[in-house]
Symmetry: C2
Subunit: 341 residues, 2 copies
DNA sequence: ATGAAAGCGCTAACAC
DNA sequence: GTGTTAGCGCTTTCAT
């Protein structure tokens, strides 16, 4: 531990301090090849003494191996992606691989930029949310020549591999459960995000299945920005004032659904008797609410784990062949806001 | 856009495709130096045609410049750090710098590991949460010879620069407000995290100020894991059953505070008349609750912004001198759960 | 305005 | 077990 040098330390410094060749120092620091215990000890002592931190940039260039996995997601703020990251981390922790996260804010141009930026670091693999990407992004991913796992959604064709759930089917199943429970006058609330393809697909599946029972959504509302809980409250109030005949409210995410639930309880409305409710995602938050919102788990942790496993398997030596398409099946949690039939 | 080659493209490929030297191609791609418009056009066309993505590893090694800023935080799951990241992003977006996030889970050993890992990529700067680090971590940070901004907390001495609030003072001020409002029997609930130094400092400031009024905390409880909202609910119930004399509950974060609030409202208890409540953080979620929890904003966005500004200023050409210690002052939001005096 | 040569700090491959 | 040599793909510097 010396005084702050201007010049960063190099292998050469450790080599000189320990009287061992750079090559041997390198071997010790990477636990490669045979090095005698005495030499190893001497090198480690010198490295520690100097406070040497290897330069991965040089290492990566020389070995053309980069232990990074690019993880590209739309957002960090809605609780769903952090959980996916947790799953990825859990798996990658047992490997040499390191996740590096990029955020796109649901913007294709930003996705393109982030992807370009990350690929320029030559990662060993990519995990990216969604199946919809700009043509340029798809081209980059194909050209990269590395494993690419598209996650969250399986309604489409992957570039390479995919892990997720069918949001269309999720929407259909919820519609089915609602109709089966006897609700007939349905309202929908969601985020104003034309680029959230998964929310869109859920909605499409939902309306499609309702149509089969001759039911149409009777009111809908979209929000953007602000506290989802507060918006859920406010939108629910507005919608019920506008459309008092509604007997079910379907929310595109649990947060606004929770806001709606709190509002209805406040008003003393009978849930799920007078009005039923359902959200989507299975967020942990719901556990603390006075009543449990019906929802559908998006299998976030599992998606993260599985995606990381595919990357790790592909990158293994030798590469293990793995399934390139994993569709998980979420189940409805009826909670206390959706009659069981 | 060619078929997936096994060998990644290099400058040389673009050079050959465009009939211009590698050096000139490099200049075009970085917008450096004088290049004739015709050459520039030819090069750009070739690069695009091939789908070339520059190799930053080689670039960084050659120029010994890396436009990365390491951001090291304890967690992504409690909403507070994503907001700090947003602030950092907002500022760095206007620069060449790119944040790279590492997560420590509040574990010093993991912090050390993550730091080592990140420093080995030779970032241009570090933003790291907290002032408490292992001796080895501090040594690494000093030896790195790059700007280091420690964030969130200013109760201590920074290695280089710091931006945050005084959690001790935050605790004291909340205690003061509570006593002033006439509450005398106080319970505390928090996370079981001996390594969350900021929560600890708030608690210390809180008890210290209470002591000045001759008041002592009469009951306390700690939790770990699970849904904070649910835990807040449950712990509040248990605490009030155990200590029915309490007239105020101070929570170490808003999430458990919100759980407590929902429980009390369920029970029909008069808040803030019979029992007052306060949390900490000013999370957006609270806006949707039936009643607003008293809290204190941790200035998360501003901390992120300011930290990034310091890094950017230090890294500018020429480096702009900046304050190395910024203490923001949060104010109490009384909401509907703390009598105003 | 463009090119040639040198080398960033490390590791692969081979020699001893 | 340990050392030597030759790059990895760029950018710097200097020449033209």
């Amino acid at each position: 531990m010396s005084l702050p040098n201007k010049r960063p330390l190099t292998l050469r410094d450790v080599s000189e301090a320990s009287g061992v060749s750079e090559m041997t120092v390198s071997r010790v620091l990477r636990n490669r090849g045979d090095v005698s215990d005495s030499t190893r000890a001497r090198v480690l002592a010198a490295a520690k003494e100097l406070g040497y931190v290897p330069n991965k940039i040089a290492g990566a260039l020389a070995s053309s191996r980069v232990n990074l996995v690019a993880v590209i997601i739309p957002s960090l703020s809605n609780m769903v992606f952090p959980e996916v990251l947790t799953g990825i981390n859990q798996v990658l922790e047992d490997t040499e691989l390191q996740p590096v996260v990029g955020v796109t804010d649901y913007l294709p141009e930003k996705e393109e930029k982030v992807l370009y930026e990350m690929l320029s670091w030559r990662p060993s693999g990519v995990i990216i949310a969604g199946l919809e990407h700009s043509e340029a992004s798809r081209a980059m991913l194909r050209a990269a020549g590395i494993p690419v796992v598209e996650i969250m959604d399986t309604d489409g064709t992957p570039i390479d591999a995919m892990v997720g759930i069918s949001h269309r089917r999720a929407g259909r199943e919820m519609a089915q459960a609602i109709v089966k429970a006897g609700y007939r006058h349905i309202g929908f609330m969601g985020t104003k995000m034309p680029l959230d393809h998964r929310a869109r697909k859920r909605f499409e599946g939902f309306t499609e299945m309702l149509a089969k029972s001759g039911i149409e959504i009777e009111d809908r509302a979209f929000y953007s920005g602000g506290s989802a809980l507060a918006k859920g409250r406010q939108m629910t109030q507005e919608m019920l004032e506008r459309s008092p005949e509604l007997d079910f409210l379907y929310y595109s995410n649990d947060m606004i659904g929770a806001g709606g639930l709190l509002y209805l309880l406040d008003q003393g409305i009978d849930v799920p008797g007078q009005i039923g409710l359902a959200g989507f995602n299975g967020v942990e938050l719901l556990q603390g609410l006075p009543r449990k919102l019906a929802t559908m788990d998006a299998c976030r942790l599992e998606i993260g784990r599985k995606a990381a496993e595919i990357i790790a398997a592909r990158l293994g030596e030798p590469p293990v062949p793995v399934e390139t398409s994993v569709t998980l099946t979420p189940t409805i949690a009826f909670g206390d806001t959706l009659k069981r039939r």
